[in-house]
């Protein structure tokens, strides 16, 4: 069972900080093409923001942002996005994970590779974020299957 913090200062400051942490995390994921960063780092930041809410404002309010029952499902969904991009490249006529053959018309191969990298990073980000939250929730308390 997660014991939420009793201090109102901690609760207010973390509630104020969480949107900025999440915005920075999305920047890290989306800007990984041009600066250090990418799916793993951005996903870790996103997961940390949710864990901050879990620790400070408690289980019920943080469930409004990310419910405990979605952790494991979303981590599988992240890996699925990655694998699906690879299969989409196969449908477009290339090899597995060869982003130049993604079936999107009207984009030159180099730009298509850049786009494929972005899709993959989003999948990695969702997977890392959800896995962090799922592990925390499982460790914090046993959860009944729904």
């Amino acid at each position: 069972m997660v014991q939420k913090s009793n201090s109102i200062i901690v609760a207010l400051v973390s509630r104020f900080m969480v949107p900025f942490i999440q915005l920075f995390a999305m920047y890290v994921i989306a800007h990984g093409h041009y600066s250090p960063g990418g799916g793993f780092q951005g996903g870790a930041l996103l997961g940390a923001s949710i864990l901050l809410l879990r620790l400070t404002v408690g289980e019920q309010p943080s469930n409004l942002v990310f419910h405990t029952r979605y952790g494991t499902q979303m981590s599988g969904f992240g890996v699925f996005i990655y694998a699906a991009v690879g299969v989409a490249a196969m449908i477009g006529g290339g090899l597995y994970l060869d982003y130049a053959n993604l079936p999107i018309a009207g984009i030159e191969p180099a730009k298509l590779r850049s786009l494929g990298i972005l899709f993959v990073e989003i999948g990695v980000g969702i997977g890392v974020m959800a896995t962090m939250i799922a592990i925390f929730d499982d460790l914090a308390r046993g959860h009944f299957h729904d």
Partner: protein, 102 residues
């Protein structure tokens, strides 16, 4: 006994320092990994990435291009490993409703 372990530790440390002192300096263009052709005569990978990564992937960050595009299988495996860690914690720690099969 304690003295012997300290001596062994010291000897091992000296061995490691001696071994690392012979390593080529990092990022040197004459290192085998940075040459145009490898020792076996095949084209080197690092030179190809440095020359062509931005052209081929339209991604200025070479690390991202290598991680997600050239080495895409590797990153897929890493993501799967993280997913497996989550699944294992799920399977070990989650309680079940009384009477449920799985």
């Amino acid at each position: 006994m304690k003295l012997i372990s300290y001596i062994l530790l010291l000897a091992f440390g000296i061995l490691l320092i001696f071994a690392t002192s012979e390593l080529p300096s990092r990022g040197h263009p004459e290192n085998p990994i940075n040459r145009d052709t490898s020792i076996a005569g095949t084209p080197g990978a690092a030179a190809h990435y440095i020359r062509n990564a931005e052209k081929e992937t339209a991604t200025p960050n070479m690390v991202t291009a290598i991680l997600a595009d050239y080495r895409g299988y590797d990153t897929l495996g890493e993501t799967t490993v993280i997913f497996c860690a989550g699944i294992v914690v799920f399977l070990i720690l989650r309680k079940q409703k009384d009477g449920s099969k799985i």
